[in-house]
């Protein structure tokens, strides 16, 4: 149905374009007047008026129709005598009704379901018909309005440009909408989570075992169960594991990245730089799932083998393997940014240092790096935020169980791993376990936001200093 409507809207718009263009052309020839805008702008004007209101309406309608129909149908089913204890059962019944309507349901159909399916068909029909009628109404109204306006209008181009400018503005608002969407979707579930689990129990608890949470509606949990759940959602082991793996990654990435950045900015010939820079940046372009595969199947077992030779017990999902591979992934972030930052240190500073007899490395160590330090710290912070938000490497190569450890040979888990583990497979909405994933997501979002903000401020401030 929607495709037919879209097609019709396109046809109308196109015909209006040609109508408007030829009409204005003939008028301007007939009355021998010079219009302010080219005839095609009158066509554009009609097209915009014909299509935009109808398309916006269609979009909004399509977004809300399923939700509204669902709530109506569930209510009708309840009135018919259907019994459901929570949202999941209601969803199940709704899916059944939908399947009966589509003819793809093969279970037993009782009278309640049958009646509801009939009601569903009725409502779908009503909604579709009213959608078509309303869209045509809107098109006719806006076309009449625009035709009327165009008659005594001499500035179609200006009007078209105002509308288009609005369109441009709306596209740039999508960024804000996305941010709002993220914040609301995370906050919404997190608030539900924190209404069951005390926020301090979450932030300072030292035990993470969400599998203990009962897979069931949060509102029906008894006091005794709640008491038991209290220490199942402790965030400390996760943040410890995350920071630990990120720390190992930075131990790899910062020295290698920084030294290669320095070398490329200060020593390398143009030719070496032109070859080595893109090759190092390949590391940033490789999908993280590839690193995860490499870490889990090659590096992890290799470390365990080496450990066995030295009489050490190394977990095949050790923090060391995950951290090392993550560090390799991050090298280009550190090296490229610090390369840029070092390049923008003014040459006069270096010349001054050479003039008093310093060698190149002394100049770098004592003049260039201190001058570039805020920028370098900014790039390292960006790399840290990348490391704590990284998912696939840790999901595949780090452990699943949350244990509080600082032994890099043992396995440990991270925030992102837990989000994936909780949300993969069957999820029950409204269980504290599922909601905890959103609370973790919110924590992650805030942490990376703060890190990015500080980093961007540092880099920006540094840039301003030498511009």
């Amino acid at each position: 149905m929607n495709f037919v409507l879209l097609f019709l809207i396109t046809i109308f718009s196109l015909s209006l374009f040609f109508y408007g263009r030829s009409k204005t052309k003939s008028i301007s020839i007939e009355k021998n007047i010079r219009l302010n805008a080219l005839p095609k702008f009158y066509g554009y004007y009609l097209v915009l008026w014909c299509s935009i209101p109808a398309l916006v309406f269609l979009l909004v309608w399509s977004l809300f129709e399923p939700v509204i129909i669902k709530s109506i149908i569930i209510e009708t089913a309840a009135n018919q005598g259907a019994i459901f204890n929570d949202k999941n059962e209601a969803n199940l019944i709704y899916e059944k009704i939908k399947a009966i309507h589509l003819g793809t349901y093969f279970g037993d159909i009782d009278s309640i379901l049958k009646e509801s399916a009939l009601a569903y068909a009725k409502f779908i029909n009503i909604f579709t018909n009213s959608k078509v009628v309303l869209i045509f109404g809107i098109i006719i109204a806006s076309v009449i309005y625009s035709l009327k306006k165009i008659k005594n209008n001499n500035k179609a181009r200006d009007d078209v440009e105002v509308i288009l400018k609005g369109l441009l503005f709306v596209s740039s608002l999508i960024a804000i909408l996305t941010t709002l969407g993220i914040i609301f979707s995370l906050l919404f579930e997190s608030i539900k989570f924190f209404s069951v689990i005390n926020i301090f129990d979450y932030l300072f608890g030292t035990n993470w075992s969400p599998q203990r949470a009962f897979v069931r509606d949060a509102s029906s949990i008894t006091v005794a169960e709640l008491e038991e759940l209290k220490d199942a959602f402790g965030f400390i082991p996760l943040i410890a594991g995350t920071s630990f793996i990120a720390f190992i990654a930075m131990l790899v990435a910062v020295p290698i990245g920084l030294f290669s950045g320095i070398y490329m900015a200060e020593y390398a010939s143009i030719k070496v730089r032109r070859i080595s820079k893109p090759i190092i940046e390949i590391l940033a372009g490789i999908p993280t799932v590839v690193y995860g595969f490499f870490a889990a199947l090659t590096v992890g077992p290799f470390f365990r083998q080496v450990g066995e030779n030295f009489g050490l017990t190394v977990s095949s999902e050790s923090a060391l393997a995950a951290g090392l591979i993550m560090g390799i992934m991050i090298i280009p972030y550190v090296s490229s940014l610090s390369d840029d930052v070092i390049n923008s240190v003014p040459q006069s500073l270096r010349d001054g240092s050479y003039a008093v007899g310093a060698t190149k490395s002394e100049t770098i160590k004592q003049v260039v790096i201190p001058a570039a330090l805020p920028g370098i710290i900014g790039s390292v912070l960006l790399a840290v935020s990348r490391a704590i938000g990284e998912t696939m490497i840790v999901v595949m190569a780090a452990g699943l169980a949350a244990n509080l450890t600082i032994n890099p040979l043992e396995s440990t888990t991270t925030i992102t791993t837990q989000i994936v583990m909780i949300l993969v497979g069957d999820q029950e909405f409204d269980s504290p376990k599922t909601q905890s994933a959103f609370a973790l997501g919110l924590t992650l979002f805030i942490a990376t936001l703060i890190l990015n903000y500080i980093a961007q401020r540092a880099v920006k401030k540094y840039r301003e200093k030498y511009d």
């Binding site: 020593y267 190092i280 999908p287 998912t391 979002f445 961007q456």
Partner: protein, 420 residues
């Protein structure tokens, strides 16, 4: 310490410092080489599959169909008995148990392969043909040399008797390697020898197409607005801060967003390329806007002023002059953004693309997998045969990324104007 000694020491430390820099570049390059070498050495064998040459006799009594039977009749006919009767003749087995072990050397699709051969040539009833049947995963891995023969029997998946048959096949040149058409045409499967990336390829294609259709126009329009029209005020600043932050938000957060808004609220179908495409578009949008703005900014003001001077409106100067000049940079930024989206895994896992999907999706609203998710799924499987399949999938993924990046670089170098 004399002056000369001090100087020598300083020069030594200079050399050392320089060496550290060079060494770290070499270490980084070494990692690239090791990674690529590791993946390629594991994956290249997956493009071939092991086949066993078998003689098949189409016995009319077993098939229970007439000469000149229609397509439908053949499709419905039972080829199971024909398969069993012919396969057990491949090696002189003594009893039932040995025959069972012999049958296990062939893939689960042997019956379908025989049926397909019959469908291709209707005139085969009562005749014998030689057919290359796909071998089972264990034999495949053994033949490719990925399976250790010298383990004790109880730790092997292949029995001693099966090894004897295998050696017999090798001796009589009945076993060989063919191009692995299943790897490209099939969907996912529990059997490594039948599993393919056909479904994942189509799923990835739809997802990226939707991502492109949504993200590219919006990103271009938004960057034109911000670069050319936006007044310097608080709203513009706020939009810019938002875009910069969104570009750095971890991808998994977009997965949570999609789960809550697209799946739970709007109720789009789970595990589909449609949802994946929208999620990836939201994620890629800020990553495209940033290079788009940079390429618009690189167009010198003289172009705009020239257009305005001859009477063009602001819009005409932007759309007729600035945007065409910025297009190569815009396109290459978009392609690089799409390449990132193609390799993205975490948000797709959250929207349910990890479901086991055998069928190849025929539209963007069918459940499907995608290339990186397929890599994740197979890497979790225990079968040895999936290791080479995973590596080969990674090879495909990497080659797509390399092609996309080359196109991006080519566009920029060929068409972008240098202004100074």
């Amino acid at each position: 310490m004399t002056k000369e000694e001090r100087l020598k020491k300083r020069h030594r430390s200079e050399k050392r410092f320089r060496f550290y820099g060079l060494a770290s570049i070499l270490v980084a390059l070494l990692f690239v080489v090791i990674l690529v070498q590791n993946i390629f050495s594991k994956g290249s064998s997956a493009f071939k599959k092991t086949v066993i040459t078998t003689e098949i006799f189409f016995d009319q009594d077993l098939l229970e169909i007439q000469n000149g039977a229609s397509q439908e009749e053949i499709m419905e006919a039972d080829f199971y008995d024909v398969m069993i009767e012919n396969l057990i003749k491949a090696y002189p087995a003594k009893d039932r148990a040995e025959e069972d072990e012999l049958l296990k050397l062939f893939s689960g699709d042997a019956e379908i392969e025989i049926k397909k051969a019959f469908l291709k040539d209707n005139d085969l009833l009562g005749k014998t043909i030689t057919l290359d049947l796909t071998a089972s995963d264990d034999i495949d891995q053994l033949h490719k040399g990925n399976y250790p023969r010298d383990l004790p029997e109880e730790r092997r998946r292949i029995s001693d008797f099966q090894l004897v048959i295998y050696d017999y096949f090798v001796e009589n040149k009945k076993i060989s390697k063919n191009f692995n058409n299943y790897f490209f045409n099939n969907g996912d499967s529990r059997d490594p020898e039948l599993a393919g990336i056909g479904g994942a390829l189509v799923g990835s294609f739809y997802s990226i197409l939707i991502c492109l259709l949504l993200a590219f126009p919006v990103a271009v329009l938004a960057s034109i607005y911000l670069e050319e029209f936006a007044p310097k005020n608080k709203i513009t600043d706020f939009i810019e801060i938002n875009i910069n932050n969104l570009a750095a938000v971890p991808s998994i957060v977009y997965g949570l967003l999609a789960l809550q808004i697209l799946l739970a609220t709007i109720q789009l179908p789970r595990s589909t390329p449609l949802v994946a495409g929208i999620t990836l578009a939201l994620m890629t949008l800020p990553r495209i806007i940033i290079p788009c703005r940079a390429s618009l900014k690189a167009v010198p003001p003289s172009i705009r002023e020239g257009a305005l001077a001859v009477g063009a409106s602001k819009f005409q100067s932007v759309f007729h002059h600035v945007v065409p000049l910025a297009l190569p940079g815009t396109l290459s930024g978009t392609i690089i953004g799409l390449a990132q989206a193609l390799g993205e895994t975490a948000p797709l896992i959250l929207i349910g693309m990890v479901a086991f999907v055998v069928d190849i999706p025929s539209s963007p609203v069918d459940p499907s997998s995608s290339l990186p998710v397929q890599v994740y799924l197979w890497s979790e499987s225990a079968e040895r045969g999936f290791v080479e399949k995973t590596s080969a999938t990674i090879m495909m993924l990497l080659s797509f990324l390399i092609v996309m990046n080359f196109i991006a670089v080519y566009l920029r170098q060929k068409f972008e104007k240098r202004w100074n």
